[in-house]
């Protein structure tokens, strides 16, 4: 495996956490991983993005330019990173906030209405977990259990109360991606 | 009749002869510090920091572990020492260029932190070691090699009153200005230097004693004239007294 991913959106959408959880899940399954956030002026206007690499080999560049997977949580992110997807790669986008259609025909674009789903679940905060479930499913990289483990690892036992909701969100994301 | 007092070399001074010019009061202040330290502490309880300036070789004179600091940085160096060796008495000995010009930030912030150190600040209103240039404490009208027509506020700025300024801070436990131009004042200076070191031993925090001092060589005066200059010209600008005591 050598999965190069970019997660992008605006601050508060949990974009950096999504990337970290994928990296954690990779680490917990014995892979080599890196997580590199954009910082400083790249984050101007409240946008956030990070590069994640999950690989069987030691990671080369931690900054992803040719992404197997781009996750776009808002419109500016899709505009900025659609071009970074390798031909045949995957663009997963938040269709709750992005009404444009991706322009490229040589990639696989999957809309996921994460805001609607998370609202149905009763917590808009878990939109990123819905997306994470979809990402895991579409890439086939991780199971729901592995993501929940990663979440536990990252957040610690103090947040155990939130696990059920997060698990539901991940499951819904996976189900949507399948359908 | 009481036995005559016999003076010897304090244990906190080495055998090295001072290099200071005739009539310079650095030697008096060195001796006062050494006497106070000897009366209160063992040699291994004290670590000193020498400045850049005429007292740069103070590490040859004070008979305890010593540091030589970069110009103005003695309060920062002393902070590092005190944090690593909190049980030691840590002092710096600094002139006006060192403390009030290039090292003003280090001085003010060590004071504001209430860093538990003692600073002996020698104010003679001139850069001695480099040959008599204007200091931040040079008096208005005073001629130096870089204010050859006499210092003016318009051309050279105003003298800085370090003790008054530091006394506005919450950190310090003792800020006082003393002089060593006559016996009475020398004795008083020793009293305040002793108090400053005692404060540190008692954990009271930052103390600074400003000592009005002479520089006959660069002032172009005889030793006697220099002492008169302190009492007649410097004290009116820099009044003696305790400016802050907690």
């Amino acid at each position: 495996m050598n999965l190069q991913m970019i997660f992008a959106g605006f601050g508060g959408q949990g974009v950096l956490l999504m990337g970290q959880l994928i990296a954690y899940a990779g680490m917990l399954s014995g892979k080599e991983v890196s997580w590199m956030p954009a910082y400083g002026p790249e984050m101007r206007g409240g946008s956030a993005n990070c590069s994640v690499v999950v690989s069987d080999e030691p990671v080369g560049s931690p900054k992803v330019e040719d992404a197997d997977v781009v996750v776009a949580m808002n419109k500016p992110s899709m505009a900025a990173f659609e071009k970074s997807v390798v031909p045949g790669g995957l663009l997963i986008y938040n269709s709750s906030l992005i009404d444009d259609k991706p322009k490229r025909a040589d990639i696989r674009a999957v809309p996921v209405p994460v805001s609607e789903i998370s609202s149905e679940l009763g917590s808009p905060k878990v939109a990123n977990m819905v997306m994470l479930g979809a990402v895991a499913k579409l890439t086939g990289a991780f199971s729901a259990e592995e993501l929940v483990d990663a979440l536990r690892h990252k957040l610690g036992s103090a947040k155990e109360g939130m696990m059920q909701m997060n698990r539901e969100a991940i499951d819904r994301g996976m189900a949507v991606a399948e359908g | 009749m009481a036995a005559p007092a016999i003076y010897g070399r304090p244990k906190f001074l080495t055998d090295a002869p001072f290099h200071y010019c005739p009539g310079c009061t650095h030697g008096i202040v060195h001796r006062l510090i050494a006497e106070v330290l000897g009366e209160k502490f063992e040699q291994d309880e004290v670590i000193g920091v020498a400045p850049v300036g005429c007292a740069v070789f103070a590490y040859n004179y004070f008979n305890c572990d010593m540091f030589e600091a970069a110009h103005g940085r003695a309060p920062a160096v002393a902070t590092g020492i005190k944090r690593a060796q909190p049980d030691k008495i840590v002092f710096t000995y600094q002139g006006d260029g060192d403390l009030a010009s290039i090292g003003m930030a280090e001085t003010v912030h060590a004071a504001a932190r209430g860093e538990n150190i003692t600073i002996i600040f020698i104010n003679n209103g001139i850069y001695g070691m480099t040959g008599g240039q204007m200091a931040p404490t040079t008096l208005i009208g005073e001629k130096t090699s870089t204010s050859p027509f006499g210092r003016t506020a318009a051309a050279n700025g105003n003298p800085i009153h370090v003790s008054e300024m530091l006394a506005t801070l919450n950190g310090p436990s003792l800020i006082a200005r003393v002089s060593v131009h006559d016996v009475k004042n020398v004795l008083n200076a020793k009293k305040l230097i002793a108090k400053a070191f005692q404060n540190q031993a008692d954990g009271k925090g930052f103390s600074l004693i400003e000592v009005l001092s002479t520089c006959p060589t660069n002032w172009g005066k005889s030793p006697l004239e220099a002492l008169q200059f302190v009492s007649e010209r410097m004290i009116p600008e820099y009044p003696l007294g305790t400016l802050k005591e907690v």
Binding site: V33, S61 | D44, Y59, D65, A76, R113
Partner: protein, 353 residues
């Protein structure tokens, strides 16, 4: 030991604490703020001291004070702040004190940018401050390596009584990677030189922590002594990694983050059939001259890749001794050279040479 995801800056700080560093003096500047932030809470737990200094100048002088007592001490900053620390670094080298200085490099000159850069190479490897001195400089390429090199830096600092620099960049500082904290035990070092309180008959000389030698002949003797120390460091402490160099016809030379980006490019070029390898200086001072010189005798050309307009390339050329041509590719200003660009530069070198 557990593998933990750690941000580079925090991993460096934790590695220092586990190496026995108990005194940290710093000042905020991006992109290294996680180091002082981490130290401000972590050192409290282990009975150490953290001071947010009034300036980088003050911070390095606080290090001078603490290091002079023999305590493991550290400061960190980023490029403009490291410029301010040069005064203290020179004094620390002159006074022969051990300490570790972390530079998480950002773009320059001047205020520059806050993005990753390698444009402080000259400053780091040529001493940076005034006077005849050298300073070991480690350039980690991963968070794990940053941890290991930070701990090694403390040992080398103590062994040779010298300041040691960790030269990272915004990527090393900001990225997260899995880290396994090594089981670290500090070797025993002679610290009888340290100023910890002296009295007559205590069994050692009175300590004077000092870099002033007013007599030229005495200073010359002192600087010659330092030079012998630097020669020993060059002899014993040079570190370099060579990858795909066995059959290489071309070599990319890069350090730190750039080296791992270059490694991806090298692998791609290998897939295209180009016999190219990577030489990665781990210490940039001492520079791995021998490895470069040996390789220069075997390859058709070398490509120095840097996040600057070319600073390390001077060392590559000096070491290569004209045995092969040396080409350059770099980006600057806080722009990270991409895999595609380096890959293209490798092909361009192959076409030309």
């Amino acid at each position: 030991m557990n593998r933990q995801m750690m941000k580079g800056n925090e991993a460096i700080a934790e590695a220092a604490v586990q190496a026995g560093c108990r005194f940290f003096f710093g000042y905020p500047i991006t992109p290294q703020n996680e180091i002082p932030e981490y130290m401000s809470r972590r050192l409290v737990e282990v009975g150490g001291q953290f001071v947010q200094a009034e300036s980088e100048v003050a911070a390095i002088n606080m290090v001078y004070g603490a290091a002079g007592t023999g305590a493991r001490s550290m400061t960190s900053s980023s490029s403009p702040g490291i410029s301010l620390k040069q005064e203290g670094i020179s004094y620390i080298a002159g006074a022969e004190l051990p300490c570790v200085i972390v530079n998480i490099v950002r773009g320059g000159p001047g205020l520059g940018s806050i993005q990753p850069a390698q444009s402080d190479y000259y400053q780091a490897t040529r001493g940076g401050g005034h006077g005849d001195y050298r300073m070991p400089v480690y350039a980690p390429a991963s968070v794990q390596e940053a941890v290991e090199l930070t701990q090694r830096a403390f040992d080398v600092a103590d062994k040779y009584r010298t300041p040691v620099m960790i030269l990272g960049d915004g990527i090393i500082g900001q990225m997260m990677e899995p880290v396994t904290m090594p089981e670290y035990t500090a070797p025993a070092f002679d610290r009888s030189w340290a100023a910890t309180g002296w009295k007559e008959g205590c069994g050692r000389e009175r300590a004077v922590i000092n870099s002033l030698y007013i007599q030229p002949d005495v200073l010359e003797k002192h600087v010659n002594k330092l030079a012998r120390k630097y020669a020993a460091i060059s002899e014993n402490e040079t570190m370099v990694e060579e990858l795909y160099m066995d059959d290489a016809e071309y070599a990319v030379v890069a350090y730190g983050t750039t080296a791992r980006i270059a490694l991806t490019a090298v692998r791609r070029a290998r897939e295209d059939g180009v016999k190219v390898g990577l030489i990665r200086p781990v210490t940039v001072w001492p520079f791995p001259e021998k490895a470069i010189e040996d390789a220069a005798g075997r390859v058709k050309g070398m490509l120095a890749v840097e996040m600057s307009l070319g600073q390390m390339i001077d060392d590559v050329r000096l070491a290569a001794r004209d045995r092969c041509p040396v080409r350059f590719y770099g980006r600057t200003g806080g722009i990270v050279p991409g895999v595609r660009e380096i890959h293209a530069a490798i092909h361009a070198m192959k076409e030309e040479l």
